[in-house]
């Protein structure tokens, strides 16, 4: 009984320490330590809370290079039951379409699932495509910006409260379904040493290559990626100026300020 939950986690360069190569404009990823996409930890937390309430099992999946095992160990440390890493050279260079294709294949192979949970978006690409695309590959309903989920076991359905700019919407959806969780919904729980030990000692992580998956390699990786990055433009830097005018009389200060703005061509005289 309970819920079989799959949660997608992405292994991303820690953008707080990433620099941009001024010549090529690309991220310098080399030597930058990676982390689990922070919004995905929120998704993991949601999955674990559902498991705490209704029982079941949480499986984390990721498409990434082998170093992402550390990321899967991290979420197993939080309480996830097992991890599956899809890792293969032919997956490299994927755009969102090719990424979601492989993830959908992984989910198909897992087979037994009620709910697929994704993060809001990633910190290194922020397209928020993956949830929707995975849902469409699997022909499942999709709902995003979810804040709360309640499970109705009898009906095999969930009530999802999603957040809009200044309102909530509540949906009832039949399972299986894909839900992505609004960022900052929950603080991810801390790691437990017993869970981390399990991750190291109980073989809870499987690595699947293209051979393990029923995959058309022309749809994966660079080959399966129709997106072309034609150019990257930088927002030009505006040089900042500052001047301080010490004046107690607000009239004089205002006059001075207006005069300055006119001089800078920011106000018509």
């Amino acid at each position: 009984m309970g819920l079989e939950i799959i949660v997608g986690i992405k292994w991303v360069p820690n953008t707080t320490s990433v620099n941009i190569d001024p010549k090529t404009g690309t991220l310098i990823r080399e030597g930058i330590p990676s982390v689990v996409n922070p919004h995905d930890l929120t998704a993991v937390e949601m999955a674990l809370r559902l498991k705490d309430r209704y029982g079941g099992r949480v499986t984390a999946i990721s498409m990434a290079p082998p170093s992402a095992i550390a990321g899967l160990e991290h979420v197993i440390g939080m309480g996830v039951d097992r991890g599956i890493l899809a890792s293969d050279r032919v997956f490299a260079g994927a755009d969102t379409l090719a990424t979601s294709y492989v993830l959908a294949k992984v989910i198909e192979k897992i087979g037994d699932y009620d709910l697929i949970i994704m993060g809001h978006e990633t910190i290194d690409s922020s397209t928020a495509h993956i949830g929707a695309q995975v849902a469409s590959w699997l022909k499942l309903p999709y709902i995003y910006y979810a804040k709360e989920i309640d499970y109705n076991e009898k009906e095999k359905s969930i009530m999802v409260k999603r957040i809009l700019e200044n309102a909530f919407e509540i949906y009832k959806i039949k399972l299986p379904a894909v839900v992505s969780i609004a960022m900052h919904t929950y603080e991810p729980r801390r790691i437990k040493i017993s869970n981390k030990l399990r991750a190291k000692m109980e073989n809870l992580i499987q690595v699947w290559t293209s051979k393990d998956l029923d995959i058309d390699v022309n749809c994966a990786g660079l080959r399966g990626s129709p997106t072309v990055v034609s150019a990257i433009d930088f927002v030009p830097k505006v040089p900042r100026k500052n001047e301080i005018f010490n004046e107690k009389d607000p009239r004089k200060a205002a006059k001075w300020l207006i005069q300055k703005l006119i001089e800078e061509g920011l106000l018509d005289p």
């Binding site: 330590p33 790691i191 040493i193 017993s194 030990l197 190291k200 000692m201």
Partner: protein, 428 residues
Amino acid sequence: MSVINQRFDAIVIGAGPAGSTAAYQLAKMGYKTLLLERGRTPGSKNMFGGRVYLQPLKDIYDDFEKKAPIHRWVKKERISFIDNENSTTIEYESTKTTSFTTYLTQLSGWMANQAVNQGAILLTEIRVDKLYRENNVFKGVVVEDEVVNADVVIDAEGINRLLLEEANLVEKLKPNQVALGVKEVIKLDSNLINQLFGLDNNDGLSWVFIGNLTNGIPGGAFLYTNRDSISLGIVLMLEEAIRKLDKHIYKLVEEFRIHPLINKYLKEGRIMEYSTHLIPEDINSLKPRKLYYDGLLIVGDAAGLLLNQGYTYRGVDFAAYSGYLAAKAYDYAHNNGGPTSDNLSKYEELLRNSFIYRMLNKFSGVTELMKKERLFNTYPALINELASRLMHIDYDSYKIMEAFKEVKKGRISWLTLIKDLWEVSRKI
């Protein structure tokens, strides 16, 4: 509190050089070993100046020179006495070498990896909250609300020693027992480093500065060449720094970096990293009363096993070697009835018969020297003024003694000078 049903022969707290080496040696001897590190990676929380002495590490790790992350072999050593405009330098260069530069994070990571290759289990992002004790016998560690059991616990937590403090084995650190180090790592092309400092590929420079870079506060400054970066920083005796420093310590590092005699090397550089850390100084007073208890051994900085030789630190090789000896001591205890305090006193014996205690005893006077402010401001100024009189010539030139008498005047008496000279040459 729940007890985890996995049981280990040894739990090592902290994956710095001491802990990683202890875990490596334990795993190598076949013990089921758990190495715990609170940082994201081994060594991500530690920090040092930049140079490590090779020989003790060679004794521990096979093929250390070939496999470890070594940046440059130190073949050039400089000691400079510096003020605002002048510096007088002693330079020693050799084709031979006994030390290398590296990033401590890389070296700690490498050591922890060797431990893992031998079968140790390494868990990162795990902070031990308490040593776990039953009836005065150490039996494991507490992490949040869970206990992990082990036959022996090896405390390699470094100088902050919060666990030992909590267990009442040491007192809170006092400012007069430690120094504060602040460091910047500055990226610089490796060929440029070679050109600027006159080095061949893979050869390194270790450069120590004494003088007013520290604002007259006892301590010094350092510069090390890494593969494609420079580490530079300041070390201050903490008590004097608290008493006398009238600005933030990062200002001192910045003044060092933009000093006209230093800045010329760094024009192409980009600051990559800024860090700060404590260093054990007054070993006699901060060393725990005992380094072995029922079920517990203390190694590395946590045990105060670091040598300040005045012009160089030996922390990493001492830490690693103490970890190695602790592993040997546990092996002995294990084969002789278990890790009781009596059996583990083997560790103390091994330390006593090693270079570690030999050197700590030999250099035990350095701590006192480090408090003599004269050595850090009067003498460097005196040396520079002397050199300046001898080297700057317009019409008349100086004879050595004539110049010396002039710069000495009002600064220091013959008697003090001779006493200081005697003391320095005896203690260092």
